[in-house]
């Protein structure tokens, strides 16, 4: 059941982590300018550096620009001002070392679940045999064994979302962007997926930026939690989560975790936003 990283990277030692800036966002502004309606300021002055191998979560009220931030990092959406770099390269178009999980599963209805998971490997013309094996391991891990030959409409929303997670991981991306990947899952599967995600992350040394609505989830998973304000999204606070790793779910009942959760929640209470 354990899925191994493909051995391209190992998690860098702590000293290297502190120097290795992997994602760099400086003075980022984003303004949507629809053709026939008023512009929307989505993000204002976002400054964030993410170290290589770091796990970052982004929380914030609905509509504050979380998806927008991920899409800019993914090279899907142009920024209005500022700089965005991944691994030293300016992001102007999607980079091959980035994998993304979308807020909606976005599977192709004419492909089986297995072939959907293989999409990134196919696009990037990666060794089929090796990646088929990895796709199968990922599907096993998320509990979709036996559904490989099914089509997306034959699966529940949560199962489709899990297939989307496998797709984002199949080419073992150095950077993983996840937009509320566990939103459609029941609480128990969600906790299980959190634990699995941490294990994959630990084994592969990926740099992860995860958007979530769940503050406890953000605390459990992350090295740092980025709290965005209401729209237009600004960084209200970046909360370092100093809980020892590897973590298991037990850590969430500790007082220290509770303190972090309360501190992040206070931001939303102050703005009287119930999220």
């Amino acid at each position: 059941m354990a899925i191994k990283a493909m051995g391209r990277r190992t998690r860098p030692p702590a000293a290297e982590v502190s120097e290795g800036t992997w994602i760099e966002v400086a003075a980022l502004d984003k303004r949507y300018q629809p053709r026939r309606s008023a512009p929307t300021q989505a993000l204002v002055d976002i400054n964030l550096t993410v170290r290589r191998g770091e796990f970052i979560s982004v929380v914030g009220p609905s509509g504050c620009g979380k998806t927008t931030l991920l899409k800019i990092l993914a090279g899907l959406s142009p920024k209005s001002a500022g700089t965005v770099r991944i691994a030293g390269r300016e992001v102007t178009k999607p980079l091959p070392e980035v994998g993304m999980v979308f807020q909606a599963p976005t599977l192709l209805p004419w492909r089986t679940i297995f072939d959907n998971v293989m999409v990134p490997a196919e696009i990037q013309k990666l060794d089929p045999a090796r990646h088929r094996e990895r796709a199968q391991q990922l599907l096993d891990m998320v509990g979709l064994t036996g559904f490989e030959r099914k089509y997306p409409h034959e699966l529940s929303g949560g199962m489709q979302q899990r297939a989307g997670i496998c797709r984002a991981l199949v080419h073992d991306p150095a950077v993983l962007l996840m937009d509320e990947p566990f939103g459609a899952l029941d609480a128990m599967t969600r906790e299980y997926m959190n634990v699995e995600l941490l294990r994959i992350w630990r084994e592969s040394g990926q740099t992860v930026v995860l958007v979530t609505h769940s503050i406890p989830e953000a605390v459990f998973l992350s090295d740092r939690v980025v709290v965005l304000s209401q729209r237009p999204g600004r960084i209200a606070e970046i909360v370092p989560i100093d809980l020892e790793r590897p973590r298991d779910l037990g850590v969430m009942s500790s007082d220290r975790a509770g303190v972090y959760v309360d501190r992040i929640r206070a931001h939303f209470n102050a703005a009287s936003v119930i999220d």
Binding site: A74, G75, L76, P94, P96, V98, G99, M100, F102, A104, T106, L108, P109, W110, V119, P120, I123, Q124, V142, G143, L144, T145, G146, F147, K150, Y151, H153, E154, M159, H171, D186, M188, T189, E191, Y192, V195
Partner: protein
């Protein structure tokens, strides 16, 4: 870990859906309703015409049509007429539909071409294509060519509209998804645009084949020495009204067979699309 059991529960293989739909008359009442309606209409027609003594030169009875059909099917000459029309329709269909796929793909992929050609296409679409038949006979003669051209022209437009519309219909989120994973234009076309267009293309084929038969028959009306359209006119001149109806029956069957072949292909190739949005000519 307590949660593995939950996920583990999903590990049993999903139950197989029955692949063949069962012949259950309660669940699918149309299985007996459709033939029942046919029998009722034919009986009403048969005895209604007798009851009101409708002249057989106005409306022949089903039994007479059936006799005429039997006569024709036993006649070698009839089969050669059928062959002529089928060939004209099929050739015209393939040419018209093929040209529409090529042009439609070109138009949908190159903005300038679209902007340049669209006004002409819209203008041509409003021309009643059937009215061009005399012209085609004048240009291409009484033989095969004029009918093939007619069938091609008339099946071209519904197909073209469907190809353009279908290639445009791709979901923006799906394109974004492929883009993130590094897909280029050609890969996006192959992996999303083309599959999205497939149900539209089948809708175009479905209308196209029926239109191609119509085109061939109309061409034969205007000027021909053979074919089912020619036979329709002959039976009409000879007051063989049952014979005329028999030809109409054969033409309908041709259209139906073509329709079912295309539906069958569609079920195989575009299995994910439940129903197609048909765009008319």
């Amino acid at each position: 870990m307590a949660t593995t059991e939950v996920v583990g529960g999903a590990r049993t293989p999903a139950p197989e859906k029955p692949t063949r739909r069962r012949l259950d008359l309660r669940e699918r009442p149309q299985l007996w309703l459709v033939p029942a309606v046919f029998v009722v209409v034919v009986l009403a027609w048969e005895y209604g015409t007798e009851l009101f003594s409708v002249d057989e030169y106005v409306l022949p009875r089903p039994s007479q049509i059936f006799d005429a059909l039997g006569r024709q099917l036993g006649d070698g000459l009839f089969w050669s007429h059928l062959w002529v029309t089928s060939r004209e329709a099929l050739l015209g269909f393939l040419i018209g539909v093929g040209a529409a796929v090529l042009l439609g793909t070109f138009i949908s992929q190159v903005k300038v071409v679209e902007a340049t050609l669209m006004p002409y296409i819209v203008a041509f679409q409003t021309v009643p294509k059937v009215a061009l038949a005399p012209l085609f006979v004048l240009w291409f003669g009484f033989g095969l060519t004029s009918k093939v051209v007619m069938a091609a022209v008339i099946s071209f437009f519904p197909m073209l509209v469907n190809v353009i519309e279908g290639l445009r219909a791709a979901d923006a989120d799906r394109i974004q998804m492929l883009t993130v994973f590094g897909a280029g234009r050609a890969q996006i076309f192959r992996m999303v645009r083309l599959p999205t267009a497939l149900p539209f293309i089948f809708a175009g084929l479905d209308i196209g084949i029926v239109f191609a038969i119509l085109g061939a028959v109309v061409g034969e009306f205007i000027g021909a020495k053979e074919g089912l359209g020619y036979l329709l006119l002959q039976t009409n001149y000879n007051f063989d009204i049952s014979g005329m109806f028999a030809v109409l029956v054969v033409l309908s069957v041709m259209g139906l067979v073509a329709h079912f072949v295309i539906r069958l292909l569609q079920r195989r190739l575009a299995f994910w699309a439940e129903d197609t949005r048909v765009i008319g000519a």
